[in-house]
C-alpha cells in the first residue's frame, strides 16, 4: 500500500505530534528499532520492486524480530522470528533457513543464484499509531522515527569505484503515513494536515521523501540500490591516443575486479568469483593485445601478475561450475546411476571446498594486495605522466582496428586448418583466438558503429558457443576420469560407481562428438563473405 514519508530535515517534531494528536492518534511509547536492508549484489530484489528488511525492536518485554518483504502490490509480507536473522558483511542471509512457504519461494525465485546480503542499516526510535474512525476501524497508520542513524553494515558494492554517488544526510526525524486499502481519503487528509503544519513550521514546503528512512539510509552511505550492473562503459574517442583509450578500458576492468574481490574472497556466492575471473581474462587479453601501446615493463609485469591471479582462481571456478551443474550433467543417467555417482560428487565437493579456501588465501595474500595496489597506481596516474609504447600516440580506432583485423586473421587461419583429425586442443586454441577477438570487439567495437559491433559479436558468439560446449565436455570428462582415478587410489569405489562414471564419460564424449560434428557448419557460417565484410567495414569505420 502506498506510504508518504515526510522528511523532518533539522526541524523540531512538535508540529507533527500536534497534528497527530488532533487526528486522535495516540502514539505508542518510543522504542528502539533497528532495520537492515538486504539485496543481492546485482540488486535483483530492487529490480523486481521488492524490499527485504529485517527488523528488531526492543520493548520492555524483550526483543522482537521480523523479516519483511515489501512489494509494489499487495500488503507487505511480515515473518515473525524468534531470533534475529544471522547475517553479516561476510555472511549472507540464508533463505533456505526460512520456513517453507510463499515468502521464501518469492525471495529464492527473485534472488536466483545470488546471495542475499546485508547492505544498509538504520537505527531509529519509533512511535507508531493508528488513526481510527468512531467504530474503531483503522483508517491510516503513522510511524514517527527520531534519532535516525545509519547502522554498522556497509555495502560491499562500495568497492565499486566506477560509481560515486552523492551522500545524502539523514533527517532529524521522519513521519510516515501508511495508506490502508479502501481508506485512501483518510490517509490523504492526514497527509494534507501534516503538509500544512510543516509548511508553517519549516517556512517552506515540507520534503516528501522518495522511499522511506531506510532507503534514505542506504543512499546516505552511498549504496547504489540498483546494484552492480557491470563496469561503466568508458567514453572512447576514435581519435584519442590509443594509450589513453586502452587505459580507460583497463580501468573499467579493474573496477569489476575490485567490485567482485571481497565477495569472491569470502565466497558469498559463485558469481563473485566468476565476475572476478572475467575481469582477469579481459585484462590479460587486452594487455596481450597492447604491445606497442602499454609500456613494455608494465605490460610484462602485469601480464605475469594477472596470469598468477587467473591460475590461482581457476580450479575453484571449474569446480563451482562442475558441482553446480551436476544435476544437468547427470540428467541423462537413470536414478540408480545418478545415486551411484554420489561418492564422485562428494569427492568433487571436497576438492571444491579446498579450492575455495585456496582462493580466499590467495585473494587476501600480500601478493594479491600488491597486485591490486600496483595496478591501480598505474591506472590512476595522470595521462600526461604515463610513458607509452611506440604506438601509444596512434589514434585509438586505428591501433585497435589493426589488432582486431590481426585477431580475425588468426581466427580464420586457425579455423580453416581444423579437420576431422585435429586434436581437441586445436579447437581449444581456436576458442582462445575467438575470445581475444571478442574482448576487443566488446571493449572497442562500438567505435565502428554499435549495430555492426553487436552483429559481429553475435556471429562470433554462435561459433564460441560451439567451441565452448566442445571444450566443456572435454574438461568435464577429464575431470571425471581423474576423480574416479583418485577415488580408486584412496578407497575402493563400488562397481556401480565406476560403471556409472564410465557411462557419464561416454555421454560426455558423445556430446563432444556432436559439437565436433557441428563445428564445420558453425565455422563456415562465421567465415562467410558477408560476416567478414561486416568486420572489415567496422574496422574501416574505426580507423577513419
Amino acid at each position: 500500500m502506498p506510504s508518504v514519508v515526510f522528511d523532518g530535515g533539522g526541524g523540531p517534531v512538535g508540529a507533527v505530534i500536534e497534528v497527530l494528536a488532533r487526528a486522535g492518534i495516540v502514539l505508542s511509547p518510543p522504542e528502539p528499532l533497528h532495520r537492515t536492508r538486504f539485496d543481492t549484489f546485482d540488486g535483483r530484489l530492487h529490480a523486481a520492486g521488492l524490499r527485504l528488511e529485517a527488523r528488531t525492536t526492543a520493548t520492555a518485554s524483550g526483543s522482537g524480530h521480523a523479516l519483511m518483504v515489501i512489494g509494489n502490490d499487495g500488503p507487505p509480507a511480515r515473518l515473525f522470528l524468534s531470533a534475529p536473522m544471522e547475517s553479516s558483511r561476510s555472511r549472507p542471509l540464508s533463505l533456505a533457513s526460512l520456513p517453507a512457504g510463499p515468502l521464501r519461494a518469492r525471495l529464492q525465485r527473485t534472488a536466483g543464484d545470488r546471495a542475499v546480503l546485508a547492505q544498509a542499516a538504520l537505527h531509529s526510535v519509533r512511535s507508531s499509531g493508528t488513526a481510527t474512525d468512531d467504530d474503531g476501524i483503522p483508517q491510516a497508520i503513522v510511524h514517527l522515527d527520531t534519532d535516525l542513524a545509519t547502522g554498522p553494515v556497509s555495502p560491499r558494492s562500495l568497492g565499486d569505484r566506477s560509481r560515486s554517488l552523492a551522500r545524502d544526510p539523514l533527517p532529524a526525524w521522519t513521519v510516515e503515513v501508511e495508506e490502508l486499502p479502501g481508506r485512501a481519503a483518510a490517509a490523504h487528509r492526514l497527509q494534507e494536515d501534516l503538509t500544512a503544519a510543516l509548511r508553517t513550521e519549516q517556512g517552506g514546503p515540507p520534503g516528501r521523501m522518495a522511499g522511506d528512512a531506510l532507503e534514505r539510509a542506504a543512499v546516505a552511505i552511498g549504496l547504489d540500490r540498483a546494484g552492480w550492473r557491470g563496469p561503466r562503459r568508458p567514453a572512447l574517442e576514435r581519435d584519442e591516443p590509443s594509450l589513453i583509450g586502452v587505459r580507460k578500458v583497463l580501468r573499467s576492468f579493474a573496477d569489476a575486479l575490485d567490485a567482485n574481490w571481497d565477495g569472491a574472497a569470502d565466497h558469498l556466492d559463485d558469481e563473485f568469483l566468476h565476475g572476478l575471473r572475467i575481469s582477469v581474462r579481459q585484462t590479460r587479453s587486452l594487455l596481450a593485445q597492447s604491445r606497442g601501446i602499454v609500456p613494455k615493463e608494465v605490460r610484462s609485469a602485469q601480464r605475469e601478475a594477472f596470469r598468477w591471479l587467473g591460475t590461482v582462481t581457476s580450479p575453484a571456478r571449474d569446480l563451482d561450475v562442475y558441482v553446480a551443474g551436476w544435476p544437468r550433467l547427470t540428467s541423462l543417467l537413470d536414478d540408480a546411476q545418478a545415486r551411484a555417482l554420489e561418492p564422485v560428487l562428494a569427492h568433487l565437493a571436497g576438492q571444491q571446498a579446498v579450492a575455495r579456501t585456496e582462493v580466499a588465501v590467495a585473494l587476501r595474500s600480500r601478493t594479491a594486495r600488491h597486485l591490486r595496489a600496483d595496478w591501480r597506481a598505474w591506472l590512476d596516474l595522470p595521462d600526461g605522466e604515463v610513458a607509452g609504447g611506440r604506438h601509444a600516440a596512434w589514434p585509438l580506432g586505428r591501433a585497435i582496428g589493426d589488432r582486431i583485423m590481426a585477431a580475425q586473421q588468426q581466427l580464420l587461419v586457425d579455423g580453416r586448418t581444423v579437420d576431422d583429425a585435429s586434436p581437441a586442443g586445436q579447437l581449444h586454441e581456436l576458442r582462445k583466438d575467438g575470445k581475444r577477438l571478442r574482448y576487443l570487439l566488446e571493449g572497442f567495437g562500438h567505435l565502428g558503429g554499435r549495430k555492426r559491433s553487436k552483429a559481429m559479436i553475435g556471429h562470433l558468439k554462435a561459433l564460441q558457443d560451439n567451441l565452448g560446449a566442445h571444450q566443456d565436455a572435454e574438461v568435464q570428462a577429464e575431470r571425471l576420469r581423474r576423480a574416479l582415478h583418485e577415488l580408486v587410489e584412496n578407497e575402493e569405489p563400488g562397481a556401480t560407481t565406476v560403471a556409472a562414471g564410465e557411462q557419464l564419460i561416454a555421454d560426455l564424449e558423445r556430446r563432444q562428438a556432436e559439437e565436433r560434428a557441428d563445428f564445420h557448419d558453425r565455422f563456415a557460417a562465421y567465415d562467410r563473405k558477408k560476416a567478414r565484410q561486416t568486420l572489415e567495414d567496422l574496422v574501416e569505420r574505426m580507423s577513419r
Binding site: 500488503p75 509480507a77 511480515r78 515473525f80 520456513p99 512457504g101 510463499p102 521464501r104 476501524i137 479502501g182
Partner: protein
C-alpha cells in the same frame, strides 16, 4: 496464490474462528493474506474490525460480469491482513449467482486478478451447501472443515465430501478438530478415532475461553492471549495447513 475455504454444512462449529485465526497466523508467518467473508452474518468482518458493508451495490455489484474485487478490499486490525467484508446482501448471493452466467466460476473469476498481490485467500463460508459454496469450492485448493468431535458433527464431514465429490475441479478436503472438550471422554475417544484418518489434521482447537473471548476483544486469539493454548493450537493448525498447501 492458494485459496482455502473454512466450511461446514453445520453451523456453530468454529468456522469463523478457524478462518480468522488461520488468516492471522498465516500473516504472522510472512504470507500475504486476504480473508473474504462470504457469510452474510459478517462475524469475521466484525472480529477483524472492518465495516460490515460492501461498497458499490453490495452483492449485486460482485456478481456483475465487469465487477472487480479489489475496490472492496479493506485493512483490518491485524497489520498486513486484508479483508473483503461481508454485507447483509450476501444472503441473496445464490439468487444473484443463479441469474448470472457460469455461476460456479464467479468467485474464482473475481479472485484471479489478485493472484500477484496475495499468497493466500481464506474464504469464510456460511454454513450449508449452496451455489455460493460450490462457487467458492471451485476456486479453492483446500477446504478446511472444523469438526466438533461428536457423532452428529462427524456426519457433516461426509456430507461435505459428497458436495465436493463429482465436481470436475475438486478441492482437497481436510478436517480439524474444533471445540474439543478434553473433560468429556466421548469427545476424547471420537477425536482419537478421527485423527487416524488421512483427511483429519492432528491439531485440535481446545474449547477454551480464549476462543470465546474473540467476540468481545474483536481480534484473533493471538492479539489478546499470545501465550494461550488456543494460540498455540492455531499456530500448529496453520503449520499443518501450510504443509498441505506448499
Amino acid at each position: 496464490m492458494k485459496v482455502i475455504a473454512a466450511a461446514s454444512i453445520k453451523g456453530g462449529v468454529g468456522k469463523t474462528a478457524t478462518a480468522v485465526n488461520l488468516a492471522a497466523e498465516a500473516t504472522r508467518a510472512g504470507v500475504r493474506v486476504l480473508l473474504w467473508d462470504l457469510d452474510p452474518q459478517g462475524s469475521a468482518t466484525y472480529l477483524l474490525r472492518a465495516e460490515h458493508h460492501l461498497s458499490g451495490g453490495g452483492v449485486r455489484g460482485l456478481v456483475d460480469p465487469k465487477a472487480e474485487l479489489a475496490p472492496h478490499v479493506r485493512a483490518t486490525s491485524v497489520p498486513g491482513l486484508h479483508v473483503v467484508p461481508s454485507d447483509l446482501s450476501l444472503r441473496f448471493l445464490d439468487r444473484h449467482l443463479d441469474a448470472a452466467g457460469k455461476p460456479r466460476r464467479r468467485i474464482g473469476t473475481l479472485l484471479s486478478p489478485l493472484a500477484m498481490a496475495y499468497d493466500l485467500v481464506v474464504l469464510d463460508c456460511p454454513p450449508g451447501a449452496s451455489i455460493g459454496i460450490e462457487s467458492a469450492f471451485r476456486a479453492t485448493d483446500l477446504v478446511v472443515v472444523p469438526v466438533v468431535p461428536t457423532t452428529l458433527a462427524v456426519l457433516t464431514l461426509s456430507q461435505l465430501e459428497e458436495v465436493v465429490a463429482g465436481r470436475s475441479r475438486r478441492p482437497a478436503l481436510v478436517a480439524h478438530l474444533s471445540m474439543l472438550d478434553r473433560r468429556k471422554r466421548l469427545q476424547r475417544e471420537t477425536a482419537e478415532e478421527l485423527r487416524r484418518r488421512d483427511d483429519v489434521l492432528q491439531t485440535a482447537i481446545p474449547n477454551t475461553t480464549g476462543v470465546e473471548r474473540m467476540g468481545p476483544e474483536r481480534a484473533p486469539v493471538r492479539a489478546f492471549a499470545p501465550r494461550s493454548p488456543a494460540t498455540d493450537a492455531y499456530e500448529q493448525l496453520w503449520s499443518e495447513v501450510a504443509g498441505r498447501l506448499w
